[in-house]
């Protein structure tokens, strides 16, 4: 099996590659050839015995998508994207990377023709949703994004579903909720504090909490995100039906519940490293985000995430901290 991963150098890409390496393949099938591409140099995962090709390239540049598709990968994980903040600050760069890049990839697949019909797993986002929201968002809730990034995701989900319906590919859109705890350095995303208030205290550092204890969102771990992508690749068109873009499950909890979980898992001294410093700008942004999802279809299709925020913290300690933390 030949697997192509775009955005392979990103956090979710790396977690997916670790998972494929650990599994020794994809859903029981060994991977003969693995093509990894990103706009920054991707790294080959350790422990996978495939023929690995690393391509540093801009997917939206002419000829790149055609080049990636010409060897007919069987499964394409399309993760490449400019995230929410960057798409909002640079309108043209966001549309170019997220819309033109994705459409170019789908077009390269379609134009291959000759019966070529790869499985395409696309990472979408709950940014497809914009308020006002019902208390719990059902699977048939309107796609009315309030960011350019969310607009790109709606547009590309719609393209994917149309290319799927026309028989050019077998698509699945995987709408990720908040992915927590993100390893690595703090970033400037408005959502960055969700990971920082867990990651930084566990590393012995102070973290700033800019919102109140009652703020509620839905989270899944990076390990769960990689699991969603792997599971999506196992689904058949018959299981999926025409609505191929699925909102992923997660743990819905308040900030207060997240902090209580940190206290349970890592102790009072760790949890005390969170410093409250309300930021009206971030409070307003986060207040517009979707909170809770029904996830009926995701459950029916067998997608699973953690069942408690304690578990999400433990996954971070296991996967990113080698099992220890700064108590």
């Amino acid at each position: 099996m030949h697997v192509l991963v775009t955005g392979a150098a990103g956090m979710i890409g790396r977690k997916l590659l670790e998972r494929l390496a650990r599994d020794g393949g994809l859903n029981g099938t060994s991977i003969d050839k693995l093509t990894l591409t990103d706009i920054v140099p991707p790294q080959a995962p350790k422990g996978l015995t495939a023929n690995i090709h690393l391509k540093t390239a801009d997917l939206a540049a002419p000829g790149i998508a055609e080049d990636l598709v010409k060897d007919r990968p069987d499964v394409i994980f399309h993760l490449a994207a400019i995230p929410s903040g960057g798409s909002e600050t640079d309108f043209e760069a966001g549309y170019r990377a997220n819309l033109d890049g994705t459409r170019g990839l789908l077009e390269a697949i379609r134009k291959t023709g000759d019966g070529y019909r790869p499985k395409v797993i696309y990472t979408s986002s709950i940014a497809v949703y914009g308020g006002p929201f019902p208390p719990s968002i059902p699977d048939d809730f309107i796609l009315a994004p309030l960011t350019s990034y969310g607009a790109h995701k709606v547009i590309c989900e719609t393209l994917l579903a149309d290319y799927n319906r026309r028989g050019f590919l077998d698509g699945v859109g995987v709408r990720l909720c908040g992915i927590t705890v993100r390893p690595g350095k703090p970033n400037l995303a408005a959502s960055g504090f969700y990971s920082a208030i867990i990651r930084e205290p566990l590393a012995g550092h102070e973290a700033i909490l800019p919102v109140g204890d009652n703020v509620t969102n839905t989270h899944a771990s990076p390990r769960a995100a990689a699991g969603f992508l792997v599971h999506a690749a196992s689904l058949t068109p018959q299981q999926l039906g025409p609505r191929i873009n699925i909102t992923m499950p997660g743990v819905c909890c308040t900030i207060g519940e997240q902090i209580a979980a940190l206290r349970r898992v890592a102790g009072d001294r760790v949890a005390a490293r969170i410093r409250r410093e309300p930021d009206e700008f971030i409070i307003r942004i986060v207040g517009g985000w979707p909170r809770r999802f029904e996830n009926t279809r995701a459950r029916e299709l067998g997608f699973t995430a953690e069942t408690s925020f304690d578990e999400i913290i433990r996954v971070h300690i296991e996967d990113d901290l080698g099992g220890t933390f700064a108590s």
Copy 2:
């Protein structure tokens, strides 16, 4: 005021122009300059004393959108599209005209810059919806189209909303339901019979009804469609909020109720010109179409359609048949 109409030679375009001519302007403002464009030659409406420019051009061709926008029209009615059937039979032509053509127009507006922010009224369609449906489709129902045409409409609605949110234009997406009775010759669209079973009997001709009496859909007249567009141009961003794409109202009725209305309006002899000839192919297509809408927002925003199918038939007799029919 300078008004630009794309797709001006199409049926809805012509009805809009008749309405503007009859009103002597747009919502009480006189039109100094009217630019009409279509891929086939548009015709100047009779009775409008504006400076009228007719441009036969392909909106998706390089430079055309920029040329149309360079004189900074205040209001743009963007009606140009390859319809449902054509978008399904020619994948590339559909995407080029409907997606690239619309995106090119929005980009030409954005790149004008310098404070230019026109009102853009976009004709969308209930083809944005795909089953399964609830008994009545609420305004916050998912956009999950089952045709390429519907996919184009979702994508362009999403673009319009993002360009609106970013302040490049003031947009309104007008989702039309079935527009009945369409004047002119019978066409080959799967939906053609809806108009044909009224129009042809009123003209003294036989019409074939390929579906059963219980088939239910929502209809508004071409006059109502022109009214939706004119009313949309009167709405302020404050009235619209971020969800600028609105499903229009109409008369929800069964085929049996449509025929009963024809009998009431035009008599038994006219209604007897409908010949039943079930067509499994059309029955299956029509069975997948949305039937009934809640239209809460459209009503709140003041959009109005006919209130009975009798009225829809009378509008056709008045507007297209000069008040008479073949009894």
